[in-house]
Symmetry: C2
Subunit: 356 residues, 2 copies
């Protein structure tokens, strides 16, 4: 098989531990399916600030650009929280999204049956919940001009939210395309009763909708969406929204599944290139103890197989292995009911590999 | 007693029905406590569009400005949803907030014990949940410049989010003041890792915090807040945040209580003037059937008594009456478990008056 290049960015906190297990899974798929992967490691986030003086060194960006896909652990931690803007891990995150053109963030929020109890929602409300948030990732208020100025009433701060037709078109298409492969329902989330960018958003989504007559489209105001996710989570299939709303809504959706430690995500650009990472953060409080849960990162590899490489069979193999290990009752501390029986990061990785 | 002037804006949908019951309660407090109220009615929202060609007629604004407080039902409905911006009920809502200087929106989200089951959250998670969202209401991206322009990549839309130091100071003080009367915990919600307005927000909140050493302050990023509300709702006391985040977070908070049909809100300006309204909307689907729940509007009167008039005893009397009617098992359709036993709007109003 063709050699696939994967840029590996372990990052901070538990990042290196969970990525370590994902790499073992990657290796196992080489043995099982005859794939060939070439991995190259890059520094990113807090560790890059410490070692290179910037959260996103050019060298790391080059490694990513030279790869077919990126596997990211997690970045950030209290150590860098009070740094100036240029020396913060988040700045690297925003920078890498923009530099790699990753305009689409795909966040599946599905409920793992064995973890249903971990949700704060009633099990009957969660039943059948399986949704994907498609978040625009390189536009909007995140990347618009920001500055301070002297105003009439003293100092003021300004953020600018900008969207152009092209940006909305491509993310809307993503939403429709993904909905088409699923239950064919798309909820477009905006605040069209207040924002001009949302009015443009809604116009463009309505226009693109004509190309997808098989997909049922509803427009949901963001405040209402925050409510409906709680009231009827299972009624959502695919949600498409702009950057800032997507940040909030995707986190709410992830949390309500009760499975947040198990969720993976993809950030895609044009073509098949993508960056894959667990939804959970760097969890500095438990870093280095070998107790973190590697499943979300392992499932990010499965997502990479599906979305970037088209290795559906291997993706399924990984997902089935995870399921069987969970079904057999194995749990890391974060998802264990009986914490005294929790297993470690490496043990979890080994069990999953053995089950593949 | 001094005559208090109340501007009454019934609005659209179920607005007139629920306001009608609230006015009966108001009258009952005149008899019981010797208060004197003078009410003046104004057209607002959809009905004002139909009858006066604008959602916020000058006459209505004058009635409000001339009053000590405003009681609002609800506005909006599908009939006006596709109107141009100037002819939409929401435009009236934004207009009245700005014209009356209502910079602070106070939304208590508490759980009514008898309705706990209506929440989609597990009862044990809800236990002790009793929070207030203090939302900045006249600044931010809602009121910044908005326009379309031709950009490099075709048409684009722009919204501007602006906050000045003064605006943040006064809403931060509100948050601290309210927290001081409660469990003395304030969560300030922003997105300081991305937005310049949020960085200004956080700086100012930190500066004001020095005046309130007795209040415990935490800064919570908005995406994290959307998650923590689901995970640990009872750990929040007062949440203070900017306009757009407040719109989303307050709706999420209201919905998780399961009591959304029962929640009241206040929008306050400088001094004691305030506008009071139920959190629920105009519910056009059930308007005119006499089945809507007047409790949120009745409780809005209690909130008006507390916050604008300082009539704490009467406020308590109303709240106790509501509680006793609910404890006796009376329910309107929206909150009834056995819908066949549901009572109507007027019956509910009468029971509450009788219990006062
Ligand atoms: C760290 C932060 C800049 C980032 C975002 O807001 O996009 C994070 O919350 C996320 O969702 O990936
Ligand atoms: C109707 C709309 C403009 C309004 C808002 O966003 O402020 C509403 O959602 C609210 O919260 O009062």
């Amino acid at each position: 098989a063709e050699v696939k290049k994967i840029a590996v960015i372990a990052g901070d906190g538990i990042g290196p531990e969970v990525v370590g297990e994902a790499l073992k899974v990657l290796k196992r798929t080489e043995e099982l399916f005859g794939y060939q992967f070439e991995t190259e490691h890059g520094l990113f986030g807090g560790i890059a600030i410490d070692e290179k003086g910037t959260p996103l060194p050019q060298e790391t960006l080059d490694i990513c650009k030279n790869a077919d896909a990126v596997l990211l652990g997690a970045v950030g931690g209290p150590k860098w929280d009070n740094n100036s803007k240029e020396l913060r891990p988040e700045t690297g995150l925003l920078g890498i999204r923009k530099a790699l053109g990753l305009f689409s963030n795909i966040r599946p929020a599905n409920v793992f049956d064995c973890l249903k109890e971990a949700s704060t929602l009633k099990p009957e409300v969660l039943d059948g919940t399986d949704l994907i948030v498609v978040r625009e990732l390189t536009g909007g208020i995140y990347f618009g001009e920001k500055f301070r100025r002297e105003g009439e009433h003293g100092e003021e701060a300004v953020d600018t939210c900008v969207y152009n037709v092209k940006e909305v078109e491509r993310i809307a298409r993503q939403g429709f395309e993904i909905a088409r492969t699923r239950r064919k329902k798309l909820a477009s989330v905006d605040k069209a009763n207040v924002l001009e960018t949302s009015r443009l958003w809604r116009e463009v989504v309505n226009r693109i909708a004509v190309e997808y007559p098989d997909v049922e489209l509803e427009h949901v105001l963001v405040d209402n969406c925050a409510m409906q996710l709680l009231r009827r989570p299972s009624s959502f299939d695919v949600i498409v929204t702009e950057n800032m709303f997507g940040d909030i809504i995707s986190d709410e959706a992830a949390m309500l599944t009760g499975s947040i430690g198990m969720l993976s995500s993809a950030s895609l650009g044009e073509g098949s290139f993508g960056l894959y990472e667990p939804v959970h953060g760097s969890a500095p409080d438990i870093a280095g103890q070998g107790i973190s849960n590697p499943i979300a990162t392992i499932l990010s590899v499965a997502l990479m197989f599906r979305l970037t490489f088209g290795y559906a069979e291997a993706a399924q193999c990984i997902e089935d292995a995870v399921k069987s290990v969970l079904d057999a009752g194995h749990r890391t501390g974060d998802i264990a009911v009986d914490k005294s029986k929790a297993i470690g990061t490496i043990e979890m990785g080994d069990l999953i590999i053995a089950a593949m």
